[in-house]
């Protein structure tokens, strides 16, 4: 392992906070069955709307379900939504950005006009509309979030590709008759990866926030998956009598997004530091 990464990491507390939060979330998502004290969907009618207590650390909801267990299982849904929507947006956005920047001309024009059109839509409005059209399901929500995330990647990568295409090593690759696919995959793609990684981390945070907003509006991940946004939505109705129902999932969404934002920030600093 490059020791410089550790040296630079020491300068940024955001690296420790970001990675600690992200690793804890991943652990919760992977080992949810072992970490949660109760079944997240089993109802206990004798323990309805119980405030936080030694048995139920974060209390129970209106069906007597354990909030802590539901939050742990909810991490699985939120992380999967964040990761897959980022992955699909990354693959399609980077692909389109590379093609637009490399070929230019009318191909660039068509791709960029579609990208601009998608960017003109408020992202939440676009995600809600797509989900409304496709129907509410786990993968449709991911697809909607991927479509809204894709233009950010394509705009970013297209700009960087245009700049890379003017460099000497690209000219020499062309002079050596390197194929177009080789230039794109071997010479351009590795040089845009820094930007891609930073944007990927921020995209996960954004997808988690947007999915939470969609679920809150009743158009996110449908039941029975325990999603943080849906927990917040149902808790909102009981705010006067059981505020912990809305507080706990909100705090967890906040911590998760903070973790990915810190990690993205650190990667950005690290890349800038290495470039110096």
């Amino acid at each position: 392992m490059d020791l410089r990464i550790l040296r630079i990491s020491k300068q940024y507390k955001s690296f420790y906070i970001g990675s600690a939060i992200t690793l804890t979330l991943i652990a919760c998502a992977v080992f949810a069955e072992y970490m949660s004290p109760f079944d997240p969907i089993s109802q206990d009618m004798s323990a309805i709307l119980k405030p936080p207590n030694p048995k139920h650390w974060l209390g129970t909801d209106y069906l007597g379900r354990d909030i802590f267990s539901r939050i742990i299982f909810g991490s699985r849904v939120s992380l999967m939504v964040g990761f897959f929507s980022m992955l699909f947006a990354l693959i399609s956005g980077v692909g389109l950005g590379l093609i637009a920047g490399f070929y230019g001309s009318w191909i660039d024009n068509i791709i960029m006009r579609i990208t601009d059109t998608l960017l003109a839509f408020p992202r939440l409005v676009l995600a809600l509309t797509i989900t409304a059209f496709l129907g509410q399901s786990f993968w449709n929500v991911i697809l909607a979030l991927s479509i809204t995330g894709m233009p950010v990647f394509s705009r970013l990568i297209r700009g960087e590709t245009l700049s890379i295409m003017t460099r000497d090593y690209i000219r020499s690759a062309k002079a050596f008759s390197a194929s177009k696919s080789r230039i794109i995959l071997v010479h351009v793609l590795p040089n845009v990866m820094n930007l891609v990684i930073v944007q990927a981390s921020l995209s996960i945070a954004f997808a988690i926030l947007t999915e939470a907003s969609m679920s809150f509006l009743g158009l996110g991940i449908p039941p029975p998956h325990p999603s943080w946004g849906m927990m917040l939505q149902s808790g909102y109705s009981y705010m006067g009598v059981a505020p912990w129902l809305a507080l706990a999932p909100g705090i967890v969404i906040f911590i998760a997004v903070l973790g990915f934002n810190f990690l993205g920030e650190w990667i950005e600093h690290y890349i800038a530091h290495m470039a110096r």
Binding site: R113, L124, L128, T129, A132, V257
Partner: protein
């Protein structure tokens, strides 16, 4: 300047055309038969065929699109399935609420963020700077509807200071209107305060390091004059860009904020339209919001030239 505005208007028409095509084809191809959605699964085949002919849905999709777009150009967005009004009427009725919310939020966030950002930049690397940056990192990571819930819990349910929901038009009762808008505006603004504050801080730090500031200080100019006359003006220009980019997000944020505070705006109307499968209404709202966003961006473009005469578009 004038040729640039003309070019931007042509571009706006092109984007609107692509956008209308995306929305129309999504509605007509991906969702399936709108007549079945309107009548429900229990409708007889005869009724479905009759309504389809009545609405002109038996024609080829491209003919339907051209017919629809010719109506849209004339301001006719069709009839709502769920409300006894045309889509244009409903939108015009609800739009003032959304524009008031977004405008007040934009102004409020800038009023708070710019002084805080400059203060953090002046106190660079101090405890004040670190605290302000920590506050902004926290605000950026919070879902705005959750902030709304927390504000309702504190100011409405615990302290009983401000109303949790409701809306009175500004012209009917300005004071009551502003009182009802305090919590929604703060909710929608928090994220933007954090973003603008960070941006102002970093731009201000960069400006303070530039040569002309060094020269101004070397000439013995008063520090207050250096900060407010020279550095401040140059920080505003890039900030206008960021504000322009975030207009689209403000409209998105309004959807959730209006739902939390039961404001009868376009955002809440969109959610209701989606839940009620009112396709013409969804289509109309999306077209309207996106057109508003693009027009706002055009205004921002024109503002650049006013703020910085060095910028020439032609």
């Amino acid at each position: 300047m004038f040729p640039h505005i003309v070019r931007r208007l042509i571009y706006l028409v092109l984007v609107l055309f692509i956008m209308s095509a995306i929305v129309f084809f999504l509605m007509n191809i991906v969702t399936g038969d709108p007549v079945v959605i309107m009548l429900g699964q229990s409708a007889t085949q005869e009724t479905i065929t009759k309504l389809r002919e009545q609405l002109g849905l038996n024609r080829p999709v491209i003919v339907q699109y051209l017919d629809w777009i010719s109506h849209v150009i004339r301001g006719d967005l069709g009839d709502s399935y769920t409300l006894p009004m045309t889509v244009s009427e409903v939108i015009l009725q609800r739009f003032p609420v959304t524009i008031e919310l977004t405008l007040l939020s934009m102004i409020f966030s800038l009023i708070i963020a710019i002084p805080l950002g400059i203060f953090a930049a002046i106190k660079f690397n101090s405890k004040t700077d670190i605290t302000l940056m920590g506050f902004s990192a926290a605000c950026i990571s919070m879902p705005n509807f959750w902030i709304g819930i927390l504000l309702i819990l504190l100011f409405s349910l615990k302290l009983n200071l401000l109303p949790a929901s409701g809306y009175v038009p500004f012209l009917t009762s300005p004071l009551k209107n502003l009182r009802l808008m305090i919590l929604p505006v703060v909710t929608l603004s928090i994220w933007y305060i954090a973003v603008y504050m960070r941006f102002t801080r970093s731009t201000f730090i960069e400006t303070l390091r530039s040569d002309y500031i060094l020269v101004a200080r070397a000439k013995g100019m008063q520090e207050r004059r250096v900060l407010w006359v020279h550095a401040f003006k140059n920080t505003l220009i890039p900030l206008v860009t960021v504000v322009g980019v975030n207009i689209s997000g403000l409209f998105g944020g309004a959807v959730v904020t209006e739902t939390v505070f039961s404001l009868p705006g376009l955002g809440r109307l969109l959610v209701d339209a989606i839940l009620g499968k009112d396709l013409p209404l969804i289509e109309g709202i999306v077209l309207f919001i996106t057109t508003a966003v693009i027009l706002c961006n055009l205004v921002v473009d024109i503002l650049y030239v006013t703020i910085d005469p060095k910028i020439r578009y032609d």
